[in-house]
């Protein structure tokens, strides 16, 4: 027999048990019947109208409780998992710290090498510049010596000519110069003629 049927039977029999104990005479049968019918209508109606919302309410409440239990369990599990992860991280922390230190050392060494290499290149550049400066000094010295020699030779030649030159030699030199100049002039005339003919 189903639960529903049992409930209906109980509902039907309950007023008999309840009201029969009060008065057991046959003269009171009609009021008893009326009360019973009233009872059945009242509780039957109540059962009919309230059964569905009550069932829904209890179902919902039960679901909520299950969910809250599951949530609490989940939260606990999550917290424990996080803790495990943290513990694992904590265990490997020493390794990680060593790695950070090693990397810093490596980066520092690389930077040091870079700076020193840069300094070496700069030093080479300074050396080259210094060599160039010395070479320029030598070139300057050579030029100065050339100019000095020419100047000295010219002065000396001038003095010697002044001492040696007789009036005859002087006039000969002048004639020679004039001759040279006229030759130059002739050459320039020939040049002009060649140019005009060509054009």
């Amino acid at each position: 027999m189903g639960k529903k049927k049992q409930l209906i039977l109980l509902l039907l029999l309950l007023p008999f048990f309840m009201f029969m104990t009060e008065e057991n005479s046959s003269s009171n049968f009609l009021p008893f019947l009326g009360k019973s019918i009233n009872f059945i209508i009242l509780f039957g109606g109540l059962a009919y109208f309230l059964s569905k919302p009550l069932r829904n309410y209890f179902k919902k409440r039960s679901l909520e409780i299950k969910q809250s239990l599951a949530q609490a369990e989940n939260l606990r599990r999550e917290a424990e998992e996080k803790l495990k992860e943290a513990e694992v991280q904590l265990e490997s922390l020493g390794e990680k710290i060593d790695q950070i230190k090693k990397e810093a050392e490596m980066v520092g060494q690389r930077e040091k090498e870079r700076i020193i290499n840069e300094a070496k290149r700069e030093a080479e550049r300074i050396k080259r510049l210094s060599q160039q400066e010395i070479e320029l000094l030598i070139q300057g010295g050579i030029q100065e010596l050339r100019e000095y020699t020419i100047e000295m030779a010219t002065i000396l030649a001038q003095e010697r000519l002044k001492k040696r030159m007789t009036p005859k030699e002087h006039s000969l030199l002048i004639e020679k110069c004039i001759e040279g100049l006229s030759k130059l002039d002739e050459n320039s005339d020939i040049d002009k003629e060649i140019h005009s003919r060509a054009s």
């Binding site: 999550e78 040091k112 030779a153």
Partner: protein
Amino acid sequence: MAEREDKIQKNQKSRDKSTNAYEKSVREIEENLKAAQAIADKTREELEREALLEKNRLLEEINAECRSQADKARKQLKEQMKSLKKELESETEVLAERIEKRILH
């Protein structure tokens, strides 16, 4: 109902305990990492400082060497110029003679 409450309470207590321990571990990890990072930064800075000092020393050394070489060269050149000028004075006689000859003949 009491059993349910008890179960929830137990879970919550366990969760709080785990969360606290987790937070403590995370703090510890962070502090250790910070300290390691600080040490690493210091090491790197120290190495850089050493390198810069070495660079300065090297450049100062090379500058001084080059300056001294240039000064030495200048001094030598000056002395050589003096002696060469003296030597050239005898050569200028020959040159002057050649100029003279060229003008006169």
